[in-house]
Subunit: 428 residues, 2 copies
């Protein structure tokens, strides 16, 4: 055995990767975290950036700052394009990083199910996505103000969210708040509260992974806010002028200038690259079916965690792609590697499910905890508490608390900035 220090490389500093790195603190290994972003992002609050309630920096923290005190960890800002499993190297666009143990935690992106709708119906995964969506939403109201026909005005004031999971539900609720309260009185030719907000889902209910009673409650709460919820509805086309959808056999075209995507999830492309090299198959969304210890079959030195991993060993079903699962997997694998390096045994993985939460609007949420289901104000308080706690940086917690408090009282959303140059609000 050589005396060289063991090199652990972690690709991706999201919920899974960052927690794997932190769990390796004090281990007899060098830890290198590679990410193409310089910040750790609290993705569950992206919809608040997209609707002007929070600023990008409120929900993002420099990765270097988070690992500054961990002396065995270094951070490399780089774009990973592949992995050479034979020679144990991570390939960057401008170099490579050798590893002894590799942890891949590059997460997921949107799936348009083979359609070319990403420009027409942008999703919400990065800060850039969020500021782009914010721009589109705010420019739609600007264009409505300047529209010359009633038809045109209506299309600019129609917002369609495709996908009724937590992101879609939360985005719909925040959009209502924006249109009905924040922008109220700011326009002269249109009434922003006339905005029509549609939430479309192909399954028969919103929040389909939650208890059906909570789905029903969320749907009612959304309808009360004025959101048109259309379940059992399949989007068959997206264009610059609107969406086409099918309910049963009827196909309808809904004119809308702003379509947002909160539907399919697809694993990061690195999953398929690794699977191909390893001679294994991915599941349909491109995730790697990992062993019970999260290693890639045939490669005990390569771990996959977070949204990129398909982990069916606990319940028979893959664990869900949420922040809590990713954090738990990352921490487990970090500890497992540490134990192995120290020659210790490690207990098998078990995800302890504390439940799921989704906010619907001001003072309303649903919470599917382990032994109890909450709705309304109490669920909303639980949601606030959990989300504030989970922001890793103390300054983020303070500024988010100040902004939420202020927004709650005044119904203002001060981060309503249209950034990026443009020629005309009609050409976004």
């Amino acid at each position: 055995m050589d005396s060289r220090t063991h090199e652990v490389v972690i690709v991706g500093a999201g919920f899974a990767g960052l927690n794997a790195a932190k769990a390796l603190k004090g281990s007899p290994a060098n830890v290198t975290v590679v990410d193409r972003r310089n910040h750790y992002l609290f993705q569950p609050l992206l919809y608040q950036v997209a609707t002007g309630g929070l600023s990008p920096a409120d929900i993002a923290t420099p990765i270097r700052g988070l690992l500054e005190k961990q002396r065995n960890a270094r951070v490399v800002l780089g774009n990973v394009t592949g992995v050479d499993l034979d020679n144990r190297r991570v390939i960057l666009s401008d170099g490579e990083v050798p590893y002894d143990t590799l942890v891949v935690a590059t997460g997921s992106t949107h799936s348009y199910f083979g359609n070319e709708w990403s420009e027409l119906a942008p999703g919400l995964k990065s800060l850039e996505d969020a500021t782009r969506m914010r721009r589109r939403i705010l420019l739609a109201f600007e264009a409505a103000e300047r529209a010359e026909s009633e038809e045109e005005r209506k299309a600019w004031l129609t917002f369609v969210i495709v996908g009724g999971g937590p992101t879609g539900v939360e985005l719909a609720g925040a959009l209502v708040e924006l249109a009905r309260y924040t922008l109220k009185g700011e326009f002269r030719s249109v009434e922003p509260s006339d905005a029509a907000i549609y939430l479309i889902d192909a399954t028969d209910r919103v929040l389909s992974t939650y208890d059906p009673r909570l789905s029903a409650n969320a749907e009612k709460a959304l309808e009360r806010l004025g959101v048109t919820v259309m379940t059992g509805t399949l989007v068959t086309g997206v264009s610059e002028d609107g969406v086409t959808f099918k309910r049963g056999d009827d196909e309808t075209m809904l004119p809308s200038k702003t379509v947002m995507w909160a539907a399919g999830v697809e694993a990061s492309p690195l999953g398929r690259i690794i699977a191909e090299h390893a001679g294994i198959e991915t599941d349909r969304p491109g995730r790697i079916k990992v062993e019970p210890d999260f290693t890639v079959p045939g490669h005990p030195e390569v771990f996959v965690v977070g949204d990129l991993a398909n982990y069916p060993h606990q319940t028979g079903q893959p664990l869900r792609g949420t922040a809590d699962v990713a954090q738990s997997e990352g921490t487990y694998v970090g500890r497992l590697i540490k134990s192995r390096l120290e020659g210790k045994e490690h207990k098998p993985y078990h995800f302890r499910d504390l439940g799921t939460l989704a906010v619907i609007g001001r003072s309303a949420a649903v919470a599917d905890l382990r032994f109890i289901r909450l709705t309304g104000f109490i669920a909303w308080l639980a949601w606030l508490f959990v989300h504030l706690l989970k922001l890793v940086d103390f300054q983020n917690r303070i500024t988010v608390l100040v902004q939420w408090g202020w927004n709650y009282i005044t119904r203002n959303r001060s981060a309503r900035l249209i950034t990026g140059s443009f020629d005309s609000p009609f050409k976004r």
Copy 2:
């Protein structure tokens, strides 16, 4: 006289334009504010966004929100491309707006004195400029961390600011703080405090519009912070690899990957367009030499205020291009128009100069007030107080105060985000 309401159109919602609009509150006119941004921007704090101390939304406020309660005002988001003085119409890229009275307040931009350096040495006028500069600064440290030769590393850690006015001085001070304290300990291969920061000015002192004793004080304070101040130095070339400058007859090339522009100021292109139509001349930076009442010669219905106006009638010299002057001119012209519409006389313009302030670093500033010159901590407190007060939105004041307090105590700057996609930190 027709009974149609008088239409006042204000182009540009900066310090001058917004104050003109506000002064027209309650006047018997319709006020239309046209801007290509949806936000009013507190430009004096842009350097804090560029160095990660504040978020864009902290120093910007939606224009609509500011004019929401003023029922005779409306806001048009549009890109003004010209003015038809004969037919009294403002030309947009996608339409036109007729006026009876026009106020042009489109401000100024950078001047590279005829050189094509805007991509190589970006300036600091908009939020996009600030986030782009932030990205360049932070990526420079990332590239230094990954550099393979000492020479390359040094070029990445060398920062050159061209222009020793308030923006250049404040940016230099903030960069020192970032490099020496905030980033300290976050890198493994480089020591961010090794960063070399140069401040270059062609005149014989920094802050050349201030009292010479304050310039000397500022220069000493900067040198104490570790900034290399080079006065009497003319930049003759900028490339991807550094700057060339001349001191006396010597021409030197300084290798640097990050050159920032805080030097020349040039009036908005609308100045020359209007001057040409009106058959008058602009001054060298492209400003319009206005009449004592801020009207364009020969066009008593067209006013020019703020950085775009050359107003020599008070002191013989054009009034300086700062926020306080712009605000004062905007308010004056708004009131003047109101008086005219009401058939009243209005007193001539007089700018009451309360002085100028520039911050140098943590707890250090210089203030050139009317009867007193301040330096050090007391000047810094004055600076803090004035800048917090001048933020128009109350929420901005709270969040800026919280962030400044936190940054002051922890020396952290949490808005250190690199946004926008990139392939490699070496290719910014």
